[in-house]
């Protein structure tokens, strides 16, 4: 018997919540043995001790087996077991400067999609003093100066001034990271030509594509494959080459440290299939606190989708190598390959949010098309709490608030994210989370344009205390695309830590064992589009091993049919008029699987139509919510 423990802790250090899970190798595979979450202020050892204690009480033999010790001392195990960790990157602010308002907006959008808190100014609107204030502000960590690859007259004339201004600021603040994007790279000389006593920053060019890809023709990234297919025959210029770089997780892939899970006796990984792609080296930016360098980056239009190349550079600059959100994106990508399904994940936290999607390039294909966006504005209570954000929360709220009171409550929620999680606090949290998801959805039109994913995952601490049926309803409210999909929740918050495993094969192998434990099934969602209002739309019959239901499909409503986790059923639908449910037709028969919430049949409009008056809107939300949250009046 090996003396090495066959277990490890998977730890997700969020800004508000520390989540810990004990994963052990038992019965021939890795299993989630126990998990717990607590406010990030809680002592970690106490949390881990509590987990081990629970396992010991429930099944002491199991703990002995995975710890490879007789009568294991839980206190010693807390210290000895390997830890696989991921952490939320604290929010950082970038000052976006451009010659024109048009360019500034584009750059701001890309920077926001890379997870930065953004302040911006353009030389055609603001005077140099105002722009200097942005750059020299204490809480500004980086500066992005950008222009089109061939700057137009409106921005070209401002570039020398902006270059001089940023170079002067970089001399005053050596810790400031500077990114020159697109045509602004011409100002690179400003960072060399200062006086004899000035520090000369190193210029790092990150626009060149990585040559490794060419050596592996079979190993194209999913984005490459997609871009190649989409742009077949199109002329490729230098910028397009940049755009062909993996637009999602490559930066963090290679930057991820050797995971401590290596210490655990993971089975030998199987040989990689011949078609399976090798991961290319990333476009990498130094994620350090002190940036004695100027990064030359692609412009805001490069990449597929537009801006993804610059987004990748900015993300590498901002995020830690073991960033939780990037870890989730990596895990989702591995899961998509593993399950051969399209998977979408939406994560909402206190410091930001993530929306990512990964899907096989084609049926049975080993290439994965993936994209992701991390946004500081995806937080359920963003640091920059604007009137628009307050309005958005109000529009999702089932409680009447005045604006100042809501503002105070959201700010206090930020300082005490675990506070008042019950009663009215739970409703507020749900409204804030929905508003955050709405912002993420609005910022990712390229993902919204895709079909309903096979699996939709809700992740993040904000969902952890919410009833599963309410989480499912929130997903149905926000991700409105016709089709049939499964809903799941990353309850144990394992996707982030598992994404910290640097080796793709090892990560996939771990996920293969753990997939049933990682994804807590919430149920299935049936969401047809094109239903006419005012009369019965048809009937649905659900036939399963234990559940049989016959439902009259009334337009405008949402129903939950009981279907337990692990159960599958066939839903036969017959509509009076042709509707869209993936394809267009009147009769559909789909396989659905159960979950904690059951099967959800959503016949509401796509997009949702809501009354204009605030009180009527609240009443509408409440009627839908009450159907799924019967305990709400307790």
């Amino acid at each position: 018997m090996s003396r090495q423990p066959r277990a490890f802790f998977a730890l997700d250090f969020g800004s508000a919540t520390t989540s810990a899970a004990l994963v052990g190798h038992a019965g021939g595979r890795w299993r989630l043995l126990a998990h717990s979450a607590a406010p990030s202020t809680t002592d970690l050892d106490a949390l881990l001790f509590g987990i081990l204690d629970r396992v010991e009480h429930a099944d002491s033999e199991l703990l002995e087996f995975v710890s490879a010790r007789e009568r294991p001392n839980t206190a010693a195990l807390v210290a000895d077991l390997a830890r696989l960790e991921s952490r939320s990157t604290p929010p950082r602010r970038i000052a976006v400067l451009a010659g024109s308002k048009r360019q500034r907006r584009r750059l701001e959008e890309v920077a926001a999609r890379a997870g930065w808190l953004v302040v911006g100014g353009s030389a055609d609107v603001s005077d140099p003093l105002e722009l200097s204030r942005l750059v020299l502000a204490w809480d500004t960590h980086a500066v992005l100066l950008g222009a089109d690859s061939t700057p137009g007259g409106d921005e070209k004339r401002h570039l020398p001034m902006l270059g001089a201004l940023v170079a002067a600021a970089a001399r005053r603040r050596p810790e400031l990271a500077v990114v020159l994007a697109g045509g602004a790279a011409i100002q690179e000389s400003d960072f060399h030509g200062a006086g004899e006593h000035d520090r000369i920053p190193e210029v790092v060019k990150v626009v060149e594509p990585v040559a490794e890809t060419a050596a592996e023709p079979e190993g194209d990234t999913g984005e490459e494959a997609a871009a190649d297919a989409a742009a077949e025959g199109a002329a490729k210029d230098a910028d397009a080459a940049v755009g062909d770089q993996p637009a999602d997780i490559a930066t963090a892939d290679a930057a991820a440290p050797a995971a401590p899970v290596d210490a655990a006796p993971a089975p030998e990984p199987p040989p990689a299939p011949a078609q399976e792609r090798e991961f290319t080296a990333p476009i990498e930016a130094p994620p350090t606190d002190r940036h004695d360098s100027v990064l030359l980056a692609p412009d805001a239009e490069s990449g597929q989708p537009a801006g993804s190349a610059l987004q990748q550079v900015l993300e590498g600059l901002r995020a830690r190598s073991d960033d939780t959100r990037l870890g989730i994106a990596r895990s989702v990508r591995s899961l998509a390959l593993l399950l051969d399904k399209s998977i979408e994940a939406i994560e909402v936290g206190i410091d930001g949010g993530l929306r990512c999607r990964a899907e096989p390039f084609g049926p049975g294909h080993r290439n994965i098309v993936s994209s992701h966006v991390t946004m500081a504005g995806g937080s359920f209570t963003p640091e920059d709490l604007t009137d628009e954000i307050i309005d958005a929360v109000l529009s999702w709220s089932t409680i009447a608030f005045d604006r100042y009171r809501l503002s105070d409550r959201l700010r206090d929620l930020r300082s005490s994210p675990w506070g008042e999680a019950d009663g009215e606090g739970a409703l507020l949290r749900l409204a804030a989370a929905k508003a955050a998801v709405e912002r993420l959805v609005a910022a990712t039109p390229e993902i919204s344009a895709r079909e309903m994913p096979d699996i939709l995952i809700a992740a993040g601490g904000v969902w952890s205390s919410t009833p599963p049926s309410v989480v499912a309803l929130a997903m149905a409210d926000l991700v409105r695309r016709p089709g049939v999909g499964r809903l799941a929740c990353d309850q144990a918050r394992l996707l982030g830590p598992l994404g910290a495993i640097a080796d793709e094969d090892e990560r996939r192998k771990m996920l293969k064992d753990l997939v049933g434990d990682v994804l807590l099934p919430l149920g299935s969602l049936v969401l047809p589009a094109g239903i006419r209002q005012g009369r019965s739309a048809g009937r649905m019959r659900v036939t399963g091993d234990t559940a049989n239901s016959d439902i009259d499909l009334q337009p405008g409503g949402i129903w939950a049919v009981e279907l337990q986790p692990g159960q599958t059923a066939t839903a036969d639908m017959e509509f009076k008029d042709a509707v869209r449910l993936g394809a267009r037709g009147r009769r559909f028969s789909v396989e659905v699987s159960g979950g904690l919430g059951g099967l959800f049949v959503d016949l509401r409009d796509i997009p949702l139509r809501l009354p204009d008056r605030a009180d009527q809107k609240r009443a509408t939300w409440e009627s839908w919510q009450r159907a799924m949250w019967t305990e709400i009046d307790e």
Partner: protein, 379 residues
């Protein structure tokens, strides 16, 4: 609760807390005092630091000079002094006017407009004398953020300067201890601590009169916008309350902006919310500490929000080791004693949370409260 201990007894207090149940350790801890915190005074383009790293500062000592009406100015070409030492970016910069002048022009260097740079002068007008900081050089021509109205920023507390940079800010390590707060508005300020009589934990508007001029007043659970306006009018230096709403902070910021625009500025005024934005009474251990310090000089700092006590020897309140306070929810602000862990408890709306049985005040029956809604105090 009597204020008898001293700050040095904090270790003892922590040891005392260990005898309670391990679940008690999962209650979020709130530190009543922090020792020698690091604070920041932010500066912008046009502002200069009058101190340098390593320098000791005392309350009231000028540490920075702000340019109130800073505007963008095209300075033109500047000659490099023949004997300029040049090390502009060095950590230590003794403020010697002669040496300052001898430095070559650099971004951030203090600049005083010459005869030809004093602004447009009509024939009968007195020439404007402008000063500020250099911003950047382009094609050999320098630009500056400068103006003709300047105000000195006085140090609100004593400490040692860690870093000081023109246009950026001053970082200072404060001497003594401070009470951390959740939210702050206004400007760093200093005054004597005044703890008036509170009615139901609140301060009446009429309590604020001119007799409290120069004081930092403890204002109970919440401070209203009217109260802040009245306090400023009475030359009160600051207010400390349990909470500070966003509406009041906006009003205060607008008031600050109006003051800055005026020719005759008033003394700096600051406001602190110890718990956050929603109304809550001041926690009794902190109120006891403030009452014990009444009459002593204290300072309000904004970044981070702190009430600085300047001294290390502080009479600490004596706390029962199982003393907790409800931070959120329907019982917010109430205090009591930890009885036992209640495990996973079903709360309103069917939410399951880790909870504890707490005896609140003089209640006969214990109340089940979520652990995350509680806070315990550490000294």
């Amino acid at each position: 609760m009597s204020p008898r201990k001293r700050a040095g007894a904090s270790t003892e207090a922590r040891a005392e807390a260990r005898f309670v149940q391990p679940e008690f350790a999962r209650v979020p801890a709130r530190r009543i005092l922090v020792v020698s915190p690091t604070v920041q005074i932010r500066l912008g383009p046009g502002d200069r630091a009058l101190v340098s790293a390593g320098q000791k500062v005392n309350p009231g000592m000028p540490i920075a000079e702000r340019t109130c009406d800073a505007e963008f100015i095209d300075v033109g070409r500047l000659n490099r002094p023949a004997n300029g030492s040049g090390h502009e970016n060095g950590p230590a910069r003794p403020i010697d006017p002669g040496q300052e002048r001898r430095r070559p022009p650099q971004p951030g260097k203090w600049w005083v407009g010459g005869d030809d740079r004093r602004g447009k002068t009509a024939r009968r007008e007195t020439p404007r004398r402008v000063a500020g900081t250099l911003l950047y050089e382009m094609d050999g021509r320098w630009t500056a953020a400068a103006g003709d109205r300047h105000e000195k920023v006085e140090s609100p507390t004593s400490g040692v300067v860690v870093e000081a940079e023109n246009c950026i800010g001053i970082t200072m390590k404060v001497n003594g201890v401070a009470i951390p707060a959740a939210v702050a508005g206004g400007q760093p300020t200093r005054g004597y601590l005044d703890v008036p009589r509170l009615v139901d934990g609140e301060l009446r508007d009429t309590t604020l009169d001119v007799g409290r001029s120069g004081a930092i007043v403890v204002a109970g659970g919440r401070v209203s916008a009217e109260m802040l306006t009245r306090a400023r009018a009475m030359s009160i230096r600051g207010m400390v309350a349990g909470s500070l709403g966003q509406a009041e902070l906006r009003d205060l910021a607008a008031s600050e902006a109006r003051q800055r625009a005026g020719l005759h500025t008033t003394p700096p005024f600051g406001a602190l919310g110890l718990d956050g934005h929603q109304r809550r009474p001041i926690a009794s251990p902190i109120l006891a500490l403030l009452a014990a310090l009444a009459g002593r000089e204290v300072a309000i700092l904004i970044d981070p929000p702190l009430l600085v006590l300047d001294v290390v020897d502080v009479p600490l309140p004596e706390l029962p080791p199982d003393w907790v306070r409800v931070r959120n929810g329907v019982h917010a602000g109430r205090e009591g004693r930890w009885l036992s862990s209640a495990g996973l408890h079903r709360f309103r709306a069917g939410i399951h949370l880790e909870a504890a049985n707490i005896r609140l005040g003089d209640d006969l029956q214990p109340t089940v409260i979520a652990l995350a809604d509680l806070e315990r105090f550490i000294l």
